[in-house]
């Protein structure tokens, strides 16, 4: 007995110490105070001085970390700078880097075994993310600056990995019982492919087809138009106000059963490609940027503001840095952990930023194959062409093959069988390109024209690149490859793949890209709206443009202010004003008033109208009326578009798609007796006022039922509108949930239902004799959840504040009080 008990205890502890049990990682290396999580916590604070060696460095590099955790990298040549960057980014964000590339290359199953993860891996590979990235990497000019930089960056990452002490292993690797992989340039391509999926796959067809199935083609085309009915384009059109291109909507037509078949296939493709469209209007998300020329700024210098909105994650998608190489680069800003370069930022002469264009750059083709079950060829112009085949194996954590897929590719792209039909997809993200060189070159530009030249052959995802320089120039261009299609040029239809006549005929020439340089209005702004007025350039570029409310608001603010200060630029980023509320509130109030005058209003409607009328239409955190307006708007959409429900009563929105954009309702309000206002389920025929009033009253009912009376705290906007910043592994304990923010649908700080998307980086730059910049992102520089630099920027981000960005010319130029650590990297073996 004296041997049995200790033997059992020892055996159990050794087993639990060495082996994972269920979701629990091996507890030996986890709890080891020298090399486990406690050692990791001890190593999150950088030592004041540190020396390390990196193989391949040609000279020593000084890296000074300021009190915001930003590395200022002073190197004597560019490749050494990228090696150093790879090293420091890996130190802060290693797990994130690997996660992103595994997600794109479909290798998450090697970490986590579950049917959902395997399904995600299979989809990533099936849509060709890895295939496209590998094709690009293989064809890439290995002597190009970007390839050299990616190789140097990889060297830096690997130097960190190989020099890591056991205690440095990030927490997430410990939880997954995994080890980091060796970094290679292909991983940077995987990351870019993932970004293309996030930003560059836009399709409005599902919504339109669903509507077509219910109300016919003519009505569907009108409800989901190619051109925005409110024109406030990125490329200034010479107007001093938004233009309302309202037309009478054709009445609902007969259902189109054929569209249902097409819809189902289309939805399967899109579901495979990306998460299903959220049941939110597009004015719940979106990015902004704007620039002001010297004559409209208070300082007489050009000003630029950048505010890209993306999924909010911990750690942040961005990593802030400053890279200095004498005579070559001196740039600060943010880049992606996983690839070298300042993607959004500034140097001594130029500042730049991006918003997503959202153009339609993907097409689907119905293919004819030789064997429906196991195709080896596909037909084009009556001749058979060989399919490219790729056998994909998926492995589990132990390396065992758990699934095998055979993927097929035509000359257009990946081909899949959907509802009995083989369909291939062509997408600009698969096209030959060199985005890494484009992004890398930006930091070395010295003028707006230099910058535009560096982006001249950029391909995907299409981006509204905004740039300003110290000479006072401002410019914007929606850069990227825009396919030229045959026929009507539309890209939102499934084409017959058996004829090459349906293939893309090329790409729009650069001079037809939406663009502007030093416009007469003295400012430029983009907010994902339709980039060019179709009256100026009718070329088809897409059809799922974001709603114009943010563009209207920022243009209104910039038009009204001819003495813009840097702090104005900051405050605009979380401006609580709403062009959407300005447009709809008078309509609600007028409808309620007319019904009241005619004796048709009840107490509830009068109360709702009174409360709404009290609102100043500003979504400040302490306001108590935005909640009522939003409820009324939801009711308005549901009641107006009742025709978009099928015989089973499933509404378009409930079916996972989205309503027509609110601007279509605004359009409809110009036709007060349109048949669209009628609720088909009531015996009477409703008009505009009846629906507006009923929506307001129903919204009021909903809010009271959920939040109590109007003086209840739950009516506060801060109780309702919150950001939720999720951890990459969706672990709640490592996330920052329910952070109150000043934002909302259609605002310059747009925020959707659960708040999982939002401003990923806010930046304001003044391009004076000395560059001044301010910035923030949600989270912090460190990816280690225990680090003080994991969430240190969150409260300032939530409050709309920015930090001053330090931009020293040399290491000695940096205020010593603001230095937390100095890392000297020396050449080594």
């Amino acid at each position: 007995m004296k041997k049995v008990l200790p033997a059992i205890v020892l055996a159990v502890l050794l087993f639990a110490g060495f082996r994972a049990i269920g979701p629990l990682p091996p507890i030996g290396p986890l709890l080891d105070p020298a090399n486990g999580v406690w050692g990791l916590a001890a190593s999150t604070n950088f030592p004041a001085r540190q020396f390390r060696s990196i193989p391949g460095l040609s000279d020593s590099v000084s890296v000074v970390f300021d009190d915001r955790g930003v590395p200022h990298i002073f190197a004597k040549n560019e490749l050494d700078a990228w090696r150093a960057l790879g090293f420091v980014v890996a130190r802060d964000r290693l797990f994130q880097m690997e996660t992103q590339t595994r997600a794109a290359s479909g290798r998450l199953s090697e970490w986590v075994s579950s049917p959902q993860i395997l399904a995600a891996d299979r989809e990533s590979r099936a849509i060709g993310l890895a295939w496209g990235a590998e094709k690009k990497a293989a064809a890439y000019d290995k002597t190009s600056p970007a390839w050299q930089a990616m190789q140097a960056y990889a060297d830096g990452v690997n130097a960190w990995i190989s020099g890591m002490k056991p205690r440095d292993l990030p927490l997430e690797y410990r939880l997954l019982n995994a080890k980091p992989i060796k970094w290679e340039p292909i991983h940077s391509f995987y990351f870019l492919a993932r970004m293309s999926l996030t930003l560059g796959l836009n399709d409005n067809t599902v919504r339109r087809l669903h509507a077509q199935a219910l109300v016919g083609k003519a009505a569907a085309e009108a409800l989901f138009p190619v051109n925005s009915p409110i024109q406030e384009p990125i490329q200034p059109n010479g107007q001093n106000a938004p233009r309302f291109d309202f037309t009478e909507l054709p009445p609902p037509g007969n259902p189109d059963p054929a569209a249902i078949v097409a819809l189902t296939a289309r939805r399967q493709v899109l579901t495979a490609l990306a998460p299903a469209p959220k049941d939110e209007p597009s004015d719940a998300v979106g990015s902004n940027n704007w620039a002001v020329s010297p004559r409209r700024s208070s300082t007489g210098n050009a000003l630029l503001a950048g505010d890209p909105h993306l999924d909010l994650t911990l750690p942040s998608i961005w990593y802030e840095m400053h890279i200095s190489v004498p005579g070559r680069i001196d740039a600060a800003g943010v880049g992606f952990p996983g690839m070298p370069g300042v993607v959004i930022g500034f140097n001594r002469d130029v500042a730049w930023t991006f918003t997503n264009t959202g153009s339609d750059v993907d097409d689907f083709y119905a293919e004819k194959v030789d064997n429906d079950d196991h195709p080896s060829r596909y037909q084009v112009d009556g001749k058979w062409r060989d399919l490219e085949k790729k056998v994909e194996q998926y492995r589990n954590r132990g390396g065992r093959v758990i699934h095998t897929d055979t993927l097929y590719f035509t000359h257009r792209g990946p081909m899949r069988k959907l509802l009995g039909e083989w369909m291939s997809m062509r997408w600009t993200a698969y096209e030959p390109s060199h985005e890494p060189d484009n992004f890398l070159a930006l930091a070395g530009t010295h003028s707006v024209n230099d910058w535009l030249y560096a982006m001249r052959d950029y391909v995907a995802p299409t981006q509204n690149g905004l740039v300003a320089d110290r000479a006072g120039n401002i410019a914007i261009r929606s850069s990227g490859a825009y396919p030229v299609r045959p026929g009507d040029g539309r890209g939102d239809v499934v084409r017959d793949g058996s004829t090459s006549a349906n293939d893309w005929q090329g790409f729009l020439p650069l001079d037809q890209y939406p663009a502007a340089l030093n416009p007469a209005q003295g400012y430029l702004a983009s907010a994902n709206q339709q980039p060019v007025d179709p009256r100026q350039n009718p070329a088809y570029m897409g059809s799922s443009w974001y709603s114009p409310w943010r563009a209207m608001r920022i243009n209104a603010l910039l038009r009204a202010d001819s003495q813009v200060t840097p702090d104005d630029m900051r405050s605009f980023q979380t401006d609580p004003g709403s062009a959407r509320a300005d447009a709809f509130i008078p309509l609600f109030l007028a409808a309620a008033s007319r019904l009241d005058s005619s004796g048709k209003a009840d107490t509830k409607l009068r109360d709702a109208a009174r409360l709404l009328g009290e609102w100043n239409r500003r979504y400040t955190m302490d306001n108590r009326r935005a909640v009522l307006f939003e409820a009324a708007m939801r009711e308005l959409s549901r009641r107006t578009w009742d025709e978009l429900s099928d015989s089973a009563g499933v509404h378009l929105s409930d079916a996972g798609s989205m309503f027509p954009e609110p601007q279509l309702i605004l359009d409809l309000t110009t036709s007060p007796t349109s048949i669209w206002w009628d609720n088909r389920r009531t015996p009477v025929r409703e008009d505009r006022d009846a629906i507006l009033a009923a929506s307001l009253a129903a919204g009021y009912d909903t809010v009271v039922a959920r939040n109590g009376n109007a003086d209840d705290k739950r009516w506060l906007w801060s109780e309702r509108r919150k950001a939720s910043i999720r951890h990459l592994l969706r672990i709640p304990a490592l996330a920052a949930p329910r952070v109150p923010i000043q934002g909302g649908p259609g605002l310059l700080n747009p925020s959707q239902g659960e708040g999982t998307q939002g401003s990923s980086w806010r930046m304001v730059v003044e391009l004076g004799p000395t560059i001044r910049a301010w910035a923030v992102y949600p989270g912090g520089q460190s990816g280690s959840p225990a680090s003080g630099r994991y969430l240190d920027r969150l409260s300032r981000w939530a409050n709309g504040q920015l930090d001053e960005v330090l931009f020293p010319k040399s290491a000695s130029d940096l205020d010593r009080k603001r230095i937390i650590s100095t890392l000297t990297l020396a050449p080594g073996q």
Partner: protein, 119 residues
């Protein structure tokens, strides 16, 4: 006094070996201790010293970095109070050392007793 020095030295040994080679050295050192020790109850002392050794390392970690924050985060991930993880960090080496030392000690006593029994 001598006993205290022994405890401190053994605790130090557990700490240094863990730092240098890893957590698995705890049962190894405890076993060796049980072999060489003339102590009546080597397992108890090994357990105490292992906990002390790891506790010392934990204190050093706390001085250097945000151990409390890590405990909170990790506790959240594992859905246990953070203090449980800290206690576990002391109990785990203690049990490892106790079991290894007790097992070896039992064999040692058995080996020592066998000739006497035979005689």
């Amino acid at each position: 006094m001598r006993s205290l020095v022994k405890v401190l030295l053994l605790a130090e040994l557990f700490a240094v070996a863990t730092y240098a080679f890893g957590w698995w050295t705890v049962p190894v050192i405890a076993a060796l201790w049980a072999i060489v020790s003339s102590d009546d109850k080597p397992a108890r002392r090994a357990a105490l010293c292992a906990a002390l050794g790891w506790g010392t390392l934990l204190v050093l970690d706390t001085i250097k970095g945000p151990v409390g924050e890590m405990a909170t985060r990790l506790g959240g991930v594992m859905r246990v109070p953070s203090v449980v993880l800290i206690l576990l960090t002391l109990i785990f080496p203690a049990l490892l050392a106790w079991s290894a030392a007790a097992l070896v000690g039992a064999f040692k006593r058995g080996a020592a007793a066998t000739p006497e029994t035979a005689a």
